[in-house]
């Protein structure tokens, strides 16, 4: 089963699949697409494509393979990741129960992210991270700049060059899908929270390196501390523009100031790919 898209949008996606980064669908508004770093309105036969509410619901249902129950754990966190690794960020009405979000219904807008594997895009990062030994590294970048793409290629490069056992904690199932080549020594733990990844998988899977995307809370920072103190190298990513930004995040400030990371790399995006905008080594 594939994702349902309104007339014209599916054709647009097929034509631009390799260049496409993101599509924004808002109820009764023109659909916009980010292609090679540039936003454009998606048109079909000369007119802009507009999705109505029922079409947005149909897109989400089809992305869930018409099985909301199988995806509700991620829906209530605001996203659905399809088998192809396409991630739908969902906006709608949150239904709460005892203070927690129980599910999201009445979907009104979607942010659809299309993953790409760009072989070799992290070669420069690899040279910084794997100089003699693998360094504990934090990669900083704003949303959409290419953190996940960078981590994916970095995992592949470390795997094929060092044969270290790499554990990828892929909480949102974005880093890996079956069509990607990540080398021969990667173990992928998907759809689990980072707490489980750090505290259980370190014992069970004995990784040399852990790669983890989007650190976002105290638990993640605590997991980093635990992993590094356990002798495992960690390469993690976080949202931000630069080193100063992450110092504003309380949960990260402590581990950065306590020198858990040997190297901090900031990425930014130009037209079609990220570039390294800042490197801080021997963090102090």
């Amino acid at each position: 089963m594939s994702i349902f898209f309104p007339d014209g949008l599916e054709r647009f996606i097929q034509l631009n699949r390799t260049k496409l980064n993101e599509i924004r669908i808002r109820c009764n508004k023109p659909i916009r697409a980010l292609v090679e770093g540039k936003w454009q309105i998606v048109t079909y036969k000369g007119t802009s494509i507009v999705a109505n509410k029922s079409q947005i619901v149909q897109i989400v249902k089809s992305a869930c393979e018409n099985s909301i129950y199988a995806y509700n754990d991620t829906i209530k966190k605001g996203y659905v990741t399809t088998m192809d690794g396409i991630r739908l960020g969902i906006c709608g009405k949150c239904i709460t129960s005892e203070g927690d979000v129980f599910t999201i219904t009445d979907f009104t807008s979607l942010c659809i992210r299309f993953p790409n594997q760009i072989i070799g895009c992290s070669t420069e990062i690899y040279k910084l991270v794997c100089n003699e030994n693998i360094k504990n590294t934090l990669i900083i970048s704003p949303p959409g700049a290419g953190k996940t793409t960078a981590l994916r290629d970095l995992a592949r490069l470390i795997s094929i060059n060092t044969y270290q056992n790499i554990l990828i904690i892929d909480e949102r199932e974005e880093i890996y899908n079956e069509s990607y080549d990540l080398g021969e020594t990667c173990d992928i733990l998907q759809n689990c929270d980072k707490k489980f990844g750090f505290f259980s998988a370190i014992r069970n899977l004995c990784p040399n390196v852990i790669i983890v995307d989007e650190l976002s809370n105290e638990n993640d920072a605590y997991g980093i501390e635990f992993a590094i103190a356990s002798g495992v190298k960690v390469i993690a990513s976080v949202h931000g523009n630069n080193y100063n930004d992450i110092l504003k995040k309380r949960y990260l400030k402590k581990i950065v100031e306590n020198k858990y990371f040997d190297c901090i790399i900031s990425l930014n995006r130009n037209d079609d790919l990220f570039f390294i905008s800042e490197v801080i080594e021997n963090v102090c």
Binding site: M1, E65, N66, S67, I68, A70, N72, T103
Partner: protein, 160 residues
């Protein structure tokens, strides 16, 4: 063998086959409801452990051909908003058509706990349907078969 005896045998066979043919409605109905109930159980099992998607459950084959055709039409319907209605067998009455449509409309649209409750609530209903179909098949199905054989025999005697 004389022509009369051949004709009598033919009449007997026609009578018996007609009985079996008319009783098919009841055996098909029984197979259909057994398959529907089995599908509901399979779905509950898949749901409880691995939370597999509907697609995985729909790929299974069941005893009833009519039920398999219904599943194919359901698969088409969920894959395409504009697809036609569910293909329901002719032996379903209006109430049953509404019930079955409602059952399939409720599949996949809710969270795990609600989905499980829905399937469990239908389980009792389907069990009753299977029991009714067994009773009908025993009552009318075998009656029609016997009637067919008796009519065939009478025709045989008259022809001879």
């Amino acid at each position: 063998m004389s022509v009369e005896i051949l004709l009598a045998i033919c009449l007997f066979l026609i009578g018996s086959c007609s009985g079996i043919l008319f009783s098919k409605k009841y055996s098909n109905r029984l197979a259909f409801y057994k398959s529907l109930r089995q599908f509901n159980c399979d779905f509950l099992n898949e749901l409880s452990y691995t939370k597999k998607t509907i697609g995985n459950v729909l790929s299974k084959k069941y005893v009833s051909q009519a039920f398999n055709e219904l599943l194919v039409s359901f698969k088409l319907k969920i894959g395409n908003q504009n697809a036609s209605e569910l293909k329901l067998p002719k032996f379903c009455n209006e109430t049953e058509i509404i019930e079955i449509n409602s059952y399939f409309e409720n599949l996949g649209g809710t969270d795990y706990q609600t989905q499980r409750n829905i399937l469990l609530s239908y389980e009792t209903n389907f069990l009753k349907k299977v029991q009714d179909a067994i009773d009908e098949n025993a009552k009318y199905g075998s009656l029609l078969k016997k009637t067919g054989v008796v009519i065939g025999l009478i025709a045989f005697v008259i022809a001879v």
